[in-house]
Amino acid sequence: MLWTAGLLGTCAIIMAATMSPSQFWRVGSLFCLGLIALAGLHVLTGLARVISLYHVALVGVGAYTAGALSLSVGLCPILSVPAGVLAAAAISFVLAKLAGSLQDHYLTLATLAASEILTNIFRGATGLTGGANGLVGIPPLSIAGLVLFSPQDYFPVCAAFAVGALCVAWALQRSFLGKALRAAGDAGVLVETLGIDSIDLRLAGFVIGGSFAGLAGALAAHVDGFVGPESFGVDRSMAYLCFLVIGGLGKLRSVPVAAALAVIAVEILRGIVGWQMVILACAAVATLYLRSWTMPPLFAWMKRRLGAKAGVA
C-alpha cells in the first residue's frame, strides 16, 4: 500500500503543478468517484472472483435515478443519492436472485446481457431517462443550503465518500464475510463445507458491489449536472475490469490504482492519445501473463550469473 500511496502522491503533485486549480479539483473528484465504483467491483470480482460486466451500467442506474428524482420530483441530494444507491442495490439483488445459481461463465454472460439491457433502457426509455440526450440540468450537491457548485467545493464531499468506501472495503476484507467471499472465489462451491450457502454469499457480494456503484453514480449525477447514456456501456465495465487487473486483482491496492488509471485514461489522455484503451488492455493481459510465470527467464539468468560470480569470487 505504501508504494501505491507514494505513486499516487507523486501523480497528484505532478498534476497540481501542471493543471489549473479547478481542473485539478475536478480530476481529483473524478478519481474519488471512480474509487467508490471500483471498490464495489473489487468486492465482487476481486474477492468473490465473479466477473461482472454490468458494473458501470449500475453506476448509470444510480446516476439516472438520482438525476431523474431530483429533476422531476425536486428531491434534494441528501435523499436522491441514497435513492440511487437503493436502485442499484435493488437491480443487483434481482440479478443475483435470478442468475446467482449459474456457473461462472454463464453468470458473466448474464451480467453482460444485463448491461446491454440497461444500456438499451437508458437510450430507449425517453420519458424517464431523456433518451439519447440524457438528463440535463441536474442540481448540484448541496449541504444545509450551501451549494457546492465548483470543483473546489464538491471535492471534499467526494473525497470523504471515497475514503469511507475504502475503509468499508478494508473492513469487509478483514471480516468473516470478506474471508468467506474470498474462499468462495478461490474454491467455488467448497464454502458449503463451512455451512454457508454459496448462493447467499454471491447475493451479498452482488448487492454490496452494486451499492457502491450506485453511490458513485448518484454522486456523479449531481457533480456533473448531466447524465448521458454513452458513458455506461459494456466497454467501460470491461475497462474497469482491466484496470483492476493491472492494479492486482484481489488486493485492496488495486482499487486506487485502477481509479487513477481510469482517470488518466478517460480524462487526461482523451484528447492526446487515441490508443490508450488498446494499450491498457494489452497491459492487463501482460499483468496476467507475468503473474503466471513463476520467474521470468531473464531474472533466472541474471540470478545464475550473479550466483556464479559470487561463487567464483
Binding site: 449459474l102 439491457i117 459494456v234 466497454d235 470491461m238 482491466c242
Partner: protein, 293 residues
Amino acid sequence: MLTQQLANGLTTGLIYSLLAIGLVMAYSTTKVINFAHGELFVFGAFIGLTLQRQGHLPFAVAAGLAVLVVFVFVGMFAYLILWKLKSSLERSIATIALGLALRDLMLVLFGSDSESFVAVYPGGTLSLGTITVSYATVLVCLASLVLLAATSLFVHRTRYGIWMRATAQNEQLAAMAGIPTHQVQAGAFAGGAALAALAGLLVTPQWQVYYGAGTVVGLKAFTAALIGGFGSFRGALLGGIVVGVVEALLAGYVSSTWKDSGVYVFLILVMLLMPRLASVVRKVQLAWERNRE
C-alpha cells in the same frame, strides 16, 4: 406478414448459427468462452474492408486474406498467452481484454461511422409467394449453409477434426494418446475466430457494421450457442435459427428499439430454464427408451 418475418429471421438466424458454431468449436475444445467473439466478427469485416478499399483487391481475395489474418492472430494469442494463464478466470479476463483492445483499435483506425463494402452482391429481389427476399439475402443464406456444412464435415471427417473432438471430450486422455493438445486447442480457438470473421465478411456487403456492433452480435451468438446446448453442431444451428426468428418476431410485433433487449431477456430465461428443460428432455428420452424395450 408472419412468413416475411420468419424469412428475415431465418437469414439472420443462419448468421447467428455460424457465429454460434465458431463459439461452440472454440469452447468445447478449450473450455474457454471467447468473450471477444463478437469483436472478431467486426474485426474481420473491417480488415476485409480495408483490403478491398486501400489495397484495391477483389472482394473474394480481400475476404480470404482477412480470414487468414484473424486466424493467425487469434491462433498466436491462444497459443502464447491463453495457455500460459492457468485459471479459467484469468483466461476469461484475457479474452475480455482482447475484445476491448480490438474494439478500441477499430475505433481508432476506422472511426465511429458505419461501414460497408462496395457493392458486391447482385441487386434485385426475388418473390416466393408472400415473401420478398433480396438476392443478396439468398446468397448469404446459401453461403452460411455451405460454410456450416463444410465445418461440420471438417470436424467429423478429417483427422484434425477428430483430434479436436477428442480433446474436447477428455483433454488428458487425448494428450496421452499423442494428440498435440496445445496446438489443437489453439487451432480450434483460432478456427472459431475465423468463422466469426467469415460471418462478418458475409454480412457487411449487405448490412452495415460499426465498431461497437461486436457486443450486440456476440451476445446473440452466445444465446444461440446456449440454446443449442453449447455442444453440438445441430444444436448451434437450431439455436441460431431460434434466436434469429425470435429477434425478427420481436422486431415485427413488439418494437424495433426493444428487440435487442428482448433477445437478452430471452437469453437469461434460457439460462435459468436450461437445467430444467434438459432434465425434462432426458426424462422423456428415458421413458421413450423404456417403452421400446
